[in-house]
């Protein structure tokens, strides 16, 4: 009974929104009304579920960021060390372009390093090496096509990253020496593996080198 009371107002509303209503055809009108109501309720439900999905997603992202924060604060220098290792690996493959790209990433890692997360020893080491290490990385980044020059800068950079890692890097690293590089003056590098892959001589003599020191 109450539905019958709603009939006229709904009809008038539909007329307002230009839906064709012929008052001489009540059956057709009922169909229009039902269709409109169904459409409106479907739209409303869809909107609601979309908002729910958005909320669910944002909650997920929040949890992810928190997890990331926890892992970064344990080993704040991880990104810098990883950037260096990527560069090292590119040089082992004689790939100057990848080395240049890795050096750019390394510079970004230095920039995004949150210094507040470092302990006093790490802070001191970073302050000591950062400026020079970044300059070497910049040279490597801008010398795609000249791997000899990249390796020259890599040598000093390796020394600096070693000192940084010594102050507390949290990951297992192997300080390795190649005695033949640079007219037998030798060169060192940090590796994530015990197996020797030489970044100074590359594919020409990949296994040349000895692990001098294990970090962590």
């Amino acid at each position: 009974m109450p539905l019958a009371l709603l009939y006229q107002p709904v009809l008038q509303t539909l007329r307002l929104i230009f839906i064709k209503i012929d008052t001489s055809k009540p059956y057709q009108n009922m169909k229009t009304i039902i269709l409109s109501l169904v459409t409106i309720s479907v739209l409303l439900t869809a909107c609601n579920s979309a908002t729910d999905k958005k909320l669910a997603n944002s909650n997920q992202t929040k949890t992810e960021t928190t997890d990331q924060n926890i892992s970064v604060s344990k080993y704040p220098m991880t990104e810098v060390i990883d950037g260096y290792l990527k560069l090292k690996n590119a040089l082992t493959k004689d790939n100057d372009k990848d080395a240049a790209a890795a050096a750019t990433e390394l510079i970004k890692a230095f920039e995004s390093l949150d210094k507040k997360l470092l302990n006093p020893e790490q802070t001191k080491a970073l302050a000591d090496i950062e400026e020079d290490a970044r300059e070497h990385a910049e040279h490597i980044a801008s010398n795609s096509g000249n791997i000899v020059h990249q390796r020259e800068h890599f040598e000093t950079l390796s020394q600096e990253i070693y000192e940084l890692a010594k102050s507390g890097s949290g990951q297992k690293l192997y300080y390795t020496n190649c005695p033949m590089y640079n007219n037998n003056k030798g060169g060192n590098w940090l590796s994530e593996t015990k197996e020797v892959s030489n970044p100074y001589l590359g594919q020409a003599m990949l296994s040349c080198g000895t692990v001098k020191e294990e970090l962590n």
């Binding site: 090496i129 400026e131 020079d132 000899v148 020059h149 020259e152 000093t156 600096e160």
Partner: protein, 147 residues
């Protein structure tokens, strides 16, 4: 017909000159403040390096002609940012060591002095003995500083 507007442009740009790299100040924090620089070394550095790697460039008469004036200014700016003997004493010890190593490397690779610089300054080219003097001097300073 296109030459007339080009001529005007060339004339116009002559009036826009970059600031010259010249300083009346003493280089108090120059390389001589942290180590001994023998006379022969100083002579080579001044003749072949200082135009781009110090606070005082020797400008020949044609340096005022544009667009070469801009090109030179750009070289000098980059050169000084990379290495400035007149500010060497201000660098951190690490940077000083890195730069001395870079000097040796550039001499070894013959990438310095710049070939384009040597084209115009034939007197600045380094003989093998000049190179040897500089490399050995750089090695001595490196050993001295790392102590």
């Amino acid at each position: 017909m296109g030459l007339v507007p080009l001529g005007f442009v060339l004339l116009a740009i002559q009036f826009v000159q970059p600031v010259r790299n010249q300083s009346a100040q003493n280089s108090e924090m120059g390389i001589a403040s942290i180590t001994r620089v023998p006379e022969n070394v100083q002579a080579i550095l001044q003749n072949s390096c200082y135009d781009c790697h110090s606070n005082n460039t020797r400008y020949p008469w044609y340096a005022a002609i544009q667009p070469w004036s801009w090109w030179m200014a750009s070289h000098i700016k980059k050169g000084k940012a990379e290495l400035n003997f007149d500010e060497f004493g201000k660098y951190s010890k690490r940077r000083q060591l890195s730069k001395l190593k870079a000097i040796q490397g550039s001499l070894e690779d013959q990438t310095m002095p710049l070939p384009s610089y040597l084209l115009i300054h034939k007197g600045a080219s380094l003989s093998l003995s000049d190179q040897k003097i500089l490399k050995e001097w750089a090695e001595d300073v490196r050993n001295e500083i790392s102590k």
